[in-house]
């Protein structure tokens, strides 16, 4: 990306195309430093069950808010459209954004997304005002169906999560871009 490039996504105009996660850092300070140094303008976040005595989420969220960048909550842990939709509504209330990284897992072995449930959830959420960032495979037909229900953005996997295999089907990704050139 050139220095003067801009990226219009989800109603925002950004100068970085890098999305950065907020998990697995050795410490909150390390996370903060990494996000700042990356110059990313989108950080992914999540929700989890909270016990009444646990106030650590407030500390985490205060750091993220202080950075002044976009937050992208996910629906991690969902195995059905119903679960993902409920988590999306909860995320919208907690994080105050209509952005949602839609993740509906179809198989625990490789964390492959369930395309059928993902499309169902995407259509419902978009009708209710969400900007859906769907985690999907590199399947062209699924990509087209997601675009047809209103997704302006796709997050196709390069390879299964954690496999470290990089982009294993780059032709499939290029085909999606060829068929749907306006998709982000």
């Amino acid at each position: 990306m050139k220095n003067n490039d801009i990226w219009e996504i989800g109603g925002k105009t950004l100068s970085s195309r890098l999305l950065i996660g907020s998990a697995l850092y050795p410490s909150p300070a390390n996370m903060e430093d990494a996000i700042k140094i990356s110059k990313s303008q989108i950080v992914t976040v999540a929700l989890r069950r909270q016990s009444s005595g646990d106030d650590t989420s407030g500390d985490f969220w205060n750091i993220i808010k202080s950075l002044g960048i976009e937050v992208l909550p996910n629906t991690a842990g969902s195995h059905s459209a119903k679960e993902a939709i409920t988590t999306a509504y909860m995320a919208r209330e907690v994080f105050g954004t209509n952005w949602i990284k839609l993740e509906v897992i179809g198989d625990l072995y490789n964390l492959q997304p369930d395309p059928f449930e993902t499309v169902i959830a995407a259509e419902i959420l978009i009708k209710d005002g969400f900007e859906v960032f769907p985690y999907t495979t590199d399947d062209l037909v699924v990509a087209k169906k997601l675009a047809n229900v209103g997704c302006n953005i796709l997050m196709p996997w390069g390879s299964p999560i954690g496999s470290g295999k990089g982009l294993i089907n780059i032709d499939n990704l290029k085909t999606i871009l060829k068929i749907k050139p306006k998709i982000n």
Partner: protein
């Protein structure tokens, strides 16, 4: 009538007893949540914050209270 009957519900996977006719706002107070950063679902249906006082918890309900966490 509130206060005379106890109901059993699951809150974040833990079986908990509440007085009959308790609403979500009262439940949150009883649980003594210090942070205001959470969202609630009952039986996998999201309950928005403006419905806490009118949503009565029933015997056998499964309640999830979720808060921000690091994620990818």
């Amino acid at each position: 009538m509130k206060g005379y009957i106890l109901i059993e519900v699951s809150i974040n996977g833990k079986i908990t007893k509440l007085e009959n006719d308790t609403n979500i706002k009262q439940m949150i107070n009883i649980l003594n949540y210090k942070s205001k950063l959470y969202a609630v679902a009952i039986n996998t249906t999201f309950i928005s914050i403006n419905k806490y006082e009118i949503t009565i918890i029933k015997q056998g309900d499964t309640i999830d209270i979720l808060a921000p966490i690091q994620g990818g």
